[in-house]
């Protein structure tokens, strides 16, 4: 698939100051440490082709179980005879180390922003002083390291010049290459005094990654799973192509992910422990193709890739820091210290001038972390888009004539269905689309169940396809640029407005929503047919009433999810809400009722989402202390239809009609209903004007609000 397209501007060259220090790291890692180390600063070795070295004898004998990288990439070469071999290190000199410690103290390096980033120290919330977010004790060389950046700095300098360890990978120099790189740049460390000559594990890691660039990848919103509803971000470490071909093989890049190690399938325990930091979060690496297959194909999520404009030394700094983080853990907090947060923290070590974590706030929403990149002008070099399987399928069937579409449908049910009426090109199109359709519908079975009917169908389709010895045409999917996550409106929303009821009451209106998007909000950067609201609340205030403030509604979650009803997709649409709201009907005017409601039904969209429709049958279960419900208890139970119609009338203007009717069996009131109309139009970059008319038993009101997305 050739679907990539780049966008973005280059900025002026980023700061290069760290380069000699990067050289230090490279020389150490790649085994060139020694005579020429300091005077070679002007002519760095090419990053792309680290010299292959024979496996270190130290690594092999002591830990035989350690896996080695496959070596077909090129037979190991012995160091050419006559080449200068690394000289023996200068003996350990405590006075030299202490002089470094003194210099570091005199320069106040322990308070330098870069040092604090490298140790992930933040001002402690609970007490004065610093506390590192890293929770794995092995990340600190000083026993006080987690709380004391200065002690950790001293211990790090001493560790660098400590005697060689039996296992070199345990030496501070090999464990903390990013610290080495930075401190080397700050203090001009005398590398000849470092007692280890090679870091086999780190060297393998760098050789495997051959880092060339860092890309932040955003995996789109995935409502099917609560933990991914807001999207996800991870890193792609772009590899120098070892074969130096023109076309890059990005599938072979390395993906770096930060995530919680979840050991429960229970949603409640998951939520509870996720909120309170009771999972451990780890950095993990996997080839990018695992990520593509998992997100793009298996979960059908579009991927947006933001390549960062970093100098080689800055790339190296990030990779070195990933190595440091890869061996420790953080307590994982779903809302704050989550995947996106620590991925940003890892990028931030690239350069002191880059500020990312300053631009995000709790809860940390993945799309907001993408926007934090843009707060650093020029940091994003290029944006690319990788369409999901579903997006690819839609592109495949777009414009096909009706008889081919019907053939695809038939093939998905019966892979042996006749295609005699079609031309060869049409047969290819039908078989290719049908195979994608099977992959979408039976993602689970295909991966996990070798004996499944889905696998047999796919096999038969592919057998037929392979018999036509003509390659398929490249699929060209135009990136939907207006859906790029960095264009999305702010994830939080604050609303200020006035309103009045038909009875003549006038009130002020204050609303807040923690996240994320509803169907009337400006649609750029968000899925067209989804409304996902976390903690929306509205309060009225008026001077005349008994109390100045009245809670209108407070929902924990409110979701509407339209699944387009096409000939290929017959998944139901659904809605769900849980929260508290104020009632207006005469029997219980002003009562508060907690409710859980939801249901399924039919939804569809027309004119590429500009007109969308949802109809469901909802069940409502509510309870309120003063409610006259079933059997005069406080419980309300009801069931009834709902309907929603959304029209996007201009690019940032939406018109939303909603209505519901609910039957309340065996309750004092037999039925309830409500209708509303909303007109909302985006103003400037981060706000909107909202007009709303609502009618329901006991109250009709009109509201005007100014909404701020931030």
């Amino acid at each position: 698939m050739r679907t990539r397209a780049g966008r973005g501007a280059r900025r002026a060259s980023p700061p290069r100051r760290a380069f000699p220090a990067a050289l230090l790291l490279l020389l150490l890692v790649l085994g060139g440490l020694g005579a020429g180390a300091r005077d070679a600063a002007g002519a760095p070795p090419p990053l792309s082709h680290p010299p292959p070295r024979p496996p270190s004898h130290v690594a092999g004998t002591e830990r035989g179980a350690r896996p080695r990288p496959p070596r077909e990439g090129g037979p190991p070469q012995a160091r050419p005879p006559g080449a200068p071999s690394a000289p023996a290190p200068t003996p350990v000199d405590p006075a030299y180390v202490e002089s470094l410690v003194e210099r570091a103290r005199a320069r106040g390096l322990a308070r330098a922003p870069m040092w604090l980033r490298l140790g992930h120290w933040r001002d402690s919330f609970w007490r004065s002083g610093y506390l590192s977010e890293v929770d794995g004790p092995a990340f600190f060389l000083s026993p006080r390291g987690q709380r004391d950046p200065a002690a950790e700095l001293d211990a790090t300098l001493r560790g660098f010049f400590a005697p060689a360890t039996r296992d070199p990978d345990r030496h501070a120099v090999c464990r903390f290459p990013a610290r080495l790189q930075w401190l080397g740049g700050q203090l001009g460390l005398d590398v000849a005094r470092i007692q280890v000559r090679d870091c086999p594990g780190l060297r393998q890691f760098i050789q495997l990654l051959r880092p060339r660039a860092i890309t932040l990848v955003f995996s789109s919103y995935y409502l099917a799973r609560a933990a991914s509803a807001f999207g996800h971000t991870f890193l792609r470490v772009e590899k120098q192509d070892p074969l130096a071909t023109e076309e890059r093989r990005e599938l072979l890049d390395m993906g770096v992910d930060y995530g919680a190690t979840v050991d429960t399938g229970n949603a409640l325990i998951y939520a509870l422990r996720g909120m309170t930091g009771m999972f451990r979060g780890y950095f993990k690496r996997l080839p990018y193709y695992y990520k593509v297959r998992e997100y793009n194909d298996y979960e059908s999520r579009d991927l947006w890739e933001y390549q960062l404009d970093l100098a080689p030394a800055q790339v190296m700094m990030v990779v070195a820091h990933i190595w440091e983080l890869g061996h420790t853990w953080f307590d994982y907090y779903y809302l704050s210290e989550n995947c996106s947060y620590h991925i940003l923290g890892a990028i931030e070590v690239a350069d002191p001038s880059i500020h990312l974590l300053d631009h995000i706030s709790t809860p940390v929403i993945p799309s907001e972390t993408v926007k934090a990149l843009y707060r650093n002008p020029g940091l994003v070099r290029r944006v690319t888009y990788r369409p999901s399987l579903e997006t690819q399928f839609k592109a495949r069937v777009r414009g096909l004539p009706g008889d081919v579409l019907r053939a695809i449908q038939r093939l998905a049910a019966d892979p042996a269905a006749s295609l005699d009426a079609l031309t060869e090109q049409q047969r290819i199109a039908a078989l290719d689309a049908a195979a994608d359709l099977i992959d979408m519908r039976f993602a689970d079975e295909l991966v996990f169940d070798p004996g499944s009917e889905a696998r047999r169908r796919k096999q038969r389709l592919l057998e037929r396809r392979s018999e036509i010895h003509v390659p398929s045409a490249e699929l060209d999917v135009a990136p939907p640029w207006h859906k790029a996550p960095h264009l999305s409106h702010g994830s939080r929303r604050l609303g200020l407005g006035v309103g009045g009821t038909a009875d003549g009451d006038v009130y002020g209106r204050l609303s807040f929503r923690m996240a994320l998007h509803d169907m009337a909000d400006p649609p750029d950067g968000y899925p067209d047919l989804v409304s996902f609201e976390f903690l929306p609340a509205t309060v009225r205030f008026a001077t005349g009433g008994d109390t100045p403030f009245v809670l209108e509604e407070l929902y924990f979650l409110r979701i509407r999810h339209i699944n387009e009803w096409t000939r290929f997709n017959r998944r139901p649409s659904w809605d769900l809400r849980a929260g508290v709201r104020r009632l207006t009907e005469d029997e219980c005017d002003g009562c508060m009722m907690g409710e859980v409601a939801g249901g399924g039904g039919w939804g569809d969209a027309f004119w590429s989402g500009r007109l969308a429709f949802l109809a469901t049958i909802d069940t409502v279960a509510g309870w309120g202390p003063s409610l006259a419900g079933v059997k005069d208890s406080g419980f309300r139970l009801g069931v009834g239809p709902t309907a929603t119609l959304r029209a996007i009338v201009a690019r940032r203007t939406a018109l939303l009609f909603a209505g519901d009717w609910i039957w309340l069996p065996e309750q004092e009131r037999k039925a309830l209903w409500s209708v509303s109309t909303t007109l909302r139009t985006g103003v400037g970059t981060g706000s909107a004007i909202d007009l709303q008319l609502v009618a329901r038993p006991g109250e009709s009101s009109a509201n005007v609000s100014w909404l701020l997305y931030y």
Partner: protein, 176 residues
């Protein structure tokens, strides 16, 4: 009357239960029967999890107790899978993981996985590789039950056996 009320309460209770069950199901649709994981080769199933422990347990095993000494993320069971380097091993594990997508690309005679495979195998030309694999589809996937591992071996076998493709990096396998 009392009876009727009782029935209604029961219905009410059932409704609430139904609703909360539906909510829970929506919240985690992946929760199904436990899937095999771990030593399943490099296939996507060894990594993808839904809400099941597969993915994370594979890595929990790695990360527990590592301490600055291991290339992180390497497990004994999947180390070949996560080090995609040119050569027969890399090409095979790449094919295993990408099987779902690659089997389609093979049948179609072209695609991103085939271009990447061409690079991993050091072959000359991706369209020639695509054409050769397409013709050999039934050899590579003789039936739907073929394991991911066999799939990977078959792909590499076909490439290595077709000398017109000159897949330099796969030579050792061809000789074997």
């Amino acid at each position: 009357m009392k009876m009727k009320m009782k029935m209604k309460t029961t219905i009410a209770l059932a409704l609430v239960l139904l609703l909360s069950a539906a909510g829970a199901a929506l919240a985690q649709p992946g929760a199904g029967p436990t899937r095999p994981y771990g030593a399943a080769g490099c296939g996507l199933g060894s990594v993808v999890l839904g809400n099941n422990p597969g993915f994370t347990q594979v890595f929990a095993a790695t990360t527990n107790g590592t301490f600055g000494t291991q290339s992180f993320g390497i497990t004994s069971g999947t180390s070949n899978c996560i080090n995609p380097t040119p050569g027969a091993t890399g090409a095979r594990s790449f094919s295993e993981t990408n099987r779902t997508a690659m089997s389609k690309d093979i049948a179609r005679g072209q695609g991103e996985t085939i271009r990447t495979l061409t690079a991993l195998g050091g072959c000359k030309d991706a369209s020639a590789v695509g054409a050769s694999l397409q013709k050999s589809y039934r050899r590579i996937v003789p039936n739907a039950e073929v394991t991911d591992r066999a799939f990977g071996q078959n792909v590499v076998g076909v490439l290595a056996a077709d000398s017109s493709l000159s897949c330099k990096k796969l030579a050792p396998v061809a000789a074997r």
